[in-house]
């Protein structure tokens, strides 16, 4: 077990290193410089002075070595497209907000998805099953920005406006945007969690149906165990295994921020930084985020693998 973990950790660092190296050279292969995007009239002379100042006139391999050296010393550099703020500081400020939103969405999505899946499986081909199917189709096929726009307009502007007018109050029931208190988190968490609801509901339903037909369920029924006990102790518990596997992979995706939802609801998270930094050719920001994300995702997957063996003793870790 210990050897396995050590091996996995070494492998994790190797993965991060490969991701970092690939990103570095891919980023520099895209045409443009950090200085070319925002200034249409920059002369070649000015550009040359700036490239020299920031060491970008050197051969690429030298820039790479400098970058690796700096990273090993914990220096991710400054972000040129964000007012020359430190990359580390940007990540430390914005990531907790994204993680907050992501965890809310994940908790809503997991609970709602699993319950919906269970109900659908237990009432197969009944109305609740159809509702579950429809929810899943909506959750998967309606893009989050459409759902976000609809809810923002109907609940944030319409319903809340009606409440304010009717009760002569300033109380904003569902705020339109921004990230201030619990009320502000409801719509964005719901919208972000819908995808999770959809995929988990389908997965849980399939998994439950699979378990329901197992021999040991028939045995349990024959033993005269109550229906509730069979459902919760035998069916749900066993059906959860594939869901937990999927969940592990989802955490990385949801927690690291959503470009669309964070923009739409003006949430000061990390989601937009990756997209914007690539557009701006902000090498340091892109690299910092890539390294951060790969550390986060590689280690969260390692954690899930370890937990998996803890939850299901039948899973044996490689020697």
């Amino acid at each position: 077990m210990r050897r396995y973990i050590i091996k996995r950790i070494i492998l994790a660092f190797a993965t991060i290193f490969v991701v970092m190296t690939a990103t570095f050279f891919l980023m520099h292969a895209i045409p443009g410089t950090p200085f070319s995007g925002n200034n249409d009239s920059m002369s070649a002379e000015t550009l040359a002075v700036l490239m020299e100042k920031y060491g970008m006139d050197k051969p690429l391999y030298k820039q790479y070595l400098t970058y690796v050296w700096n990273i090993l010393h914990g220096d991710f550099g400054v972000s040129m497209s964000n007012g020359y703020r430190s990359v580390t500081e940007i990540i430390l400020t914005a990531f907790p907000v994204s993680a907050d939103l992501g965890i809310r969405a994940l908790i809503f999505g997991t609970i709602a998805g699993i319950l919906l899946g269970i109900e659908a499986a237990l009432h197969r081909n009944k109305p609740i099953d159809h509702i579950s199917t429809i929810t899943a189709i909506i959750g998967i096929s309606i893009p989050s920005f459409v759902l976000g726009t609809i809810l923002q307009t109907i609940l944030g502007l319409g319903l809340s406006g009606w409440v304010k007018a009717t009760f002569h109050t300033d109380y904003q029931l569902f705020p339109i945007a921004r990230w201030q208190s619990f009320r502000y988190t409801i719509i964005p968490s719901f919208v972000l969690g819908m995808g999770t609801v959809a995929s988990l509901a389908r997965l849980m339903r399939t998994s439950m149906l699979d378990v329901i037909n197992q021999d040991y369920i028939r045995t349990a029924k024959a033993k005269g165990i109550s229906r509730q006990q069979i459902i919760w102790k035998h069916e749900v518990r066993n059906a959860m295994m594939p869901v937990i596997t999927v969940l592990g992979r989802m955490i990385g995706g949801v927690v690291t921020g959503s470009y669309i939802i964070e923009s739409q609801f003006a949430i000061p998270g990390l989601g937009k930084y990756l997209v914007n930094s690539i557009t701006a050719r902000d090498y340091t920001m892109t690299m910092g985020l890539t390294v951060f994300y790969s550390i986060f995702i590689v280690f969260s997957m390692l954690l899930v693998d370890l937990l998996y063996s803890v939850i299901d003793p039948r899973v044996r870790l490689a020697k």
């Binding site: 895209i30 009239s41 400054v78 007012g83 923009s263």
Partner: protein
């Protein structure tokens, strides 16, 4: 099995606990006193029947505790770098740091200079400074300019665009490392007297220095916090303008409060500006309709929502001209007739009225609203430079001439690609141009879009045929638009070099009669357009709306596009 249940249960509990912990940490209640969370105090008083009910209810919030605040939104976290360039320019310039002069209702107004004078040939300008202060209480002195401009040019401070400073003596030599910063043509004679020595005559210098790159900075504060930190956090920022940054939550909210040391503080009619960072335009509009913002910019598709809610939609001209420019080394586009055919085959009215629904068709390169001789604007003095009427027959005739000259047989032999940035505006306009050119001229037109960085790199490497872009003014003078065509510059990637143009431009530079100077510039513009080196399409415009509780909001053709200096809060 029981063990497993316990473990699963423990996992869920841990997750639930971390959720509740996050709920507690996740509340950011440190907003401004006037924020949305404030208690519903005296909102029943809002009886302004003319105002939409939502906007009226905000009145109570914003004047609560007697604080008069204006709420505005910007689309991304601002940058307040030392050179003051970046998206912060659009809105916050003019509120935070102030130059020696500033705009006032389209003309030059009072800035930190009490008075100024120039020598006979406009190569030396002397400014007398007012008694004013930085927001940390330090006095504004002539040394602020000597320090700031020197620090940018010698590489101490960040400078993304040195060319703007090259009119100052030795600026270019210092920037490229050929001269020492002590030779810079900016001198503090005493605390209140500042002298600029210039490389060549600059008659429009008082206009040029409204651009924030010519602003000063306090040497002591800069050294204290470290020049690389300037403007990255509220505590690393000071202002010499009417407001300063009191707090700054990145990507969320900036609160500007009044700088009590500012010379004209008594005439600023409100106390606070809340600048929200709202990336999405639809969200900005919804917040505006809900009374949470006082000014909003929006595109045509949201016009009905704004007007439907009872607000007045207004438009302003932001001093930009959208235009096509040609790769003159291209086999077809090197031919002047073909370029003229393209210009005549584009229906500019259709672009403005059918595609964009805002702006106006171009009748020159210099946009309407840009300054001329101080009393009249450039376009008022020069008039239209070319007739840009839509004439398909003429276009076809011109194309035929070009085809004959090139020895081609059929318009179908010509294939050109329009390269442009992937903004909504340019995607729509390039599509319309593609249609107009292929229908009217019968040539093959393709469109390629990418992000601005990639597009500009390709353009500078001559990997384009036709390039659709827009050019805006950084300072209020036509040299902004024409200066690039005098030489081989990146504003002139097509390498248009023309003796007549250069002569007119040179005459303008050395002319000391302001009206005559504008006429020379008009001649230069006419040469540029007659040669069809570029093809102006339209002057861009924007929709905006202002809430009923705020007055005196000005929109400008140059930065700051949103000017709140003269605003009032009812």
């Amino acid at each position: 099995m029981k063990k497993i249940i316990n473990k699963t249960f423990a996992l869920i509990v841990t997750a639930a606990l971390s959720f509740s912990a996050l709920t507690a940490c996740g509340t950011y209640e440190s907003g401004p006193e006037t924020g949305n969370e404030s208690a519903p105090a005296a909102n029943a008083v809002s009886t302004d029947s003319a105002a939409p009910s939502d906007a009226a209810s905000t009145q109570a919030q914003s004047t609560e505790n007697g604080v008069k605040a204006i709420n505005i939104a910007i689309s991304s976290d601002p940058t307040f770098t030392f050179d003051a360039i970046g998206d912060s320019l659009m809105v916050t310039n003019g509120l935070l740091r102030e130059g020696l002069t500033r705009y006032a209702d389209g003309k030059l107004g009072d800035g930190l200079a009490e008075s100024y004078e120039h020598n006979d040939d406009y190569t030396q300008w002397t400014f007398k400074l007012r008694d004013s202060g930085w927001s940390n209480g330090e006095p504004v002195t002539a040394d602020d300019w000597v320090y700031a401009i020197g620090a940018m040019l010698d590489g101490t401070a960040q400078l993304s665009f040195a060319d703007f400073l090259y009119e100052i003596k030795n600026a270019r030599a210092i920037y490229t490392g050929e001269a020492d910063v002590s030779t810079l043509g900016v001198t503090a004679v005493d605390d209140k007297t500042l002298v600029f020595d210039l490389e060549y005559p600059v008659t429009y210098f008082p206009y040029l220095i409204t651009h924030p790159m010519h602003f000063g900075y306090d040497r002591e504060f800069s050294n204290e916090v470290g020049v690389e930190n300037i403007g990255t956090e509220a505590e690393y920022s000071i202002s010499n303008g009417p407001f300063y940054i009191d707090s700054w939550e990145h990507d969320n909210l900036l609160v500007f409060k009044k700088n009590e040391y500012y010379w004209n503080a008594d005439n600023i009619q409100y106390d606070q500006v809340n600048v929200y960072v709202i990336p999405d335009e639809a969200t900005q509009v919804n917040l505006f309709l809900n009374g949470e913002l006082d000014v909003v910019d929006f595109s045509y598709q949201r016009l009905s929502a704004i007007e439907g809610a009872g607000y007045t939609a207004q438009t302003y001209n932001n001093g930009r001209t959208a235009y096509l420019y040609y790769n003159l080394t291209n086999d077809y586009l090197g031919n002047k007739y073909i370029r003229q055919a393209i210009s005549a085959a584009i229906d500019r009215d259709a672009l403005v009225n059918g595609v964009l629904h805002v702006g106006s068709p171009a009748d020159g390169f210099i946009p309407v609203g840009l300054a001329g001789d101080g009393s009249k604007t450039f376009r008022e003095i020069v008039g239209p430079t070319l007739d840009y009427s839509y004439d398909v027959d003429n276009a076809k005739a011109l194309l035929q001439k070009g085809i004959d000259e090139l020895g081609l047989s059929d318009p179908k032999d010509i294939t050109i690609t329009i390269l442009t940035t992937n903004t909504d505006e340019f995607i729509a306009v390039s599509g319309a141009i593609q249609q107009l050119l292929s229908e009217n001229l019968g040539i093959n037109v393709e469109v390629e879009t990418s992000d601005s960085s990639a597009v500009r790199t390709r353009r500078n490497a001559f990997e384009y045929d036709l390039y659709l872009a827009s050019w805006g003014a950084d300072w209020d003078d036509a040299t902004n638009f024409l200066g690039g065509y005098e030489r081989d510059s990146s504003a002139n990637p097509a390498l248009f070099i023309n003796e007549d143009f250069n002569k007119a431009y040179h005459d303008a530079t050395y002319s000391t009669d302001l009206t005559e100077r504008v006429k020379f510039l008009g001649e230069a513009e006419k040469v540029l357009l007659e040669e069809e080196a570029i093809t102006p399409l339209y002057y861009t415009g924007h929709y905006y709306s202002v809430s009923n509780r705020v007055g005196g909001v000005l929109r400008r053709a140059v930065v700051p596009y949103l000017d709140l200096y003269y605003a009032t809060v009812n």
